[in-house]
Amino acid sequence: MTEESFVRELERRADHAFDGTHGTPITFEAVRSKAHGIRRRRRTAAAGAVAAAVAVAILVPTVWGGSDRPGSEGIDPATTTTGHGAVLHDRTLTLSDGTTVPLDVDDAEVQQLGVLTDGRIIVPTNQPNRLRVFGPAGELRAEYSIGTTLIRMSPTNDAVAWMEGDGSVMVLSSDSPEPVELGTVEAQDPSYPLIDAVVDSQHVLVGDGNTTTTEVTPDGVRPLTTSEPLRVTDVSPDGDLWAVQYADDADPQFGCAGLYEPMAARIVARSCETANLTFSPEGQHLLGARGDNAMIGDAAVFDLDLGVVGRWESADRGDVLKSVKWLDAEHLLVVETNWKDSSWALTRVDLTWSDRAVLDTVENGGNPEMMNEFPLSE
């Protein structure tokens, strides 16, 4: 047998498998539909959401930071809800101050949730696409039809934005009982508008899934001008820096990450070693995470020069992350899972990823491609 006959065998095998009697031609519509699904999953699950940041610089003890198990002793009941570190499990939302709130939602439906500074809890779910607003005690206060099940929180957690089916940008602020329409963004086929970031309750950035293209403010809807095409993944607490993603041949599939100064219209730091950067609550560090199929394969903490402070990578033993979010300026909440044994763990790690504490576990949990056993607040 020669190398040529080896080649011929492969061709014969492949031709036999698809000799015209097997397989259905893949249509453009099927590809586009799948692409839209991938885009949604990337954006909701790859830690690309806006980090809910705390305006106050004083950090308070949290239930996650002060104990090894949720609800255990050591909780400071006087702490305030910041929106950070809230975890949904078994229809109960545990806030970072230890408060538990019963929520009438199926955990498996929840891909994202947000907690406003006034205590209202925002939960988008699909089928049908809707957004539910619960009061601080868990009572359902309002329900809205939404275009995409994607929410974005402001850096100070005092506002949440979402998109209605007609492109209307809706903003619900802590100081308002009802959402207001900030503006309407026209869809540009084949893409549809998606909210990339909320600078504040009066300033929302919208994109087409690849690039942030539009600013929406009370003054109107206008094109966003940047130094190069980029997608904003987060805004610093003071609004002076934007975490961005941009196309780069160094990583043609996911692109590279950077820090962008909107006032100077320039990228001041770049890294092709991560993606989907989000700012820590005080804005001095960033969390980046890369993954696919709604899971994360590597994640890292960076300084403002995008130098690595700590990093986690899958050991290729079935271990992946489902989600990772900022808990406070010094810690992350991490949802770990292993597809080989279906185990899940909610953990807290420090910035260097060397100090790890297990907070809760689930054995025989669900498929992380489809659900999250511990949805974390944005």
Binding site: E3, S5, L10, K34, D292
Partner: protein, 172 residues
Amino acid sequence: MTDRDADFTAYLQARQGRLLRTAYLLTGDQHQAEDLLQTSLAKLYLAWDKVRDRESVDAYVRRIMVNENNSLWRRGWKRREAPTDVVPEAAPFHDVYDEGLGAAVWEVVSTLPRKARAVVVLRYYEQLSEAETAAVLGISAGTVKSQTSRALAALRERTPADLNPTHREEER
């Protein structure tokens, strides 16, 4: 349809047949091949504007396919979801005229580790050079060479003596 979509559709129609066959050789399963290709094409569609050089699209989508197929979470969950007690849709492929040589080749290819299998498929089916294969896989040309050698050595070991392949790397 926009020019962008028309452009993509033209590529889809022209290349999906060949890409589907490559996907099959990578996965060894028709349904997984279709699923792998559709996912890879969807990712290509999302990145269509980034692929500035249209002549490099094949290489780009091959890289997506290989990475997707090697994805640890993809193979883990796809494996779990695959039913094990159903009759395959397609009849087993029997070689009736080559004294089992085709089956022997396929058995070796099927049992190779995924990354080594990707090397073999890209080198011998897609006819890529060592350098091109290395670029698609993100590994060194030396690794391509060594994995190719190992795959061919396995082929020699597992096929009947009178069917052993001749390793003619030096001719390439």
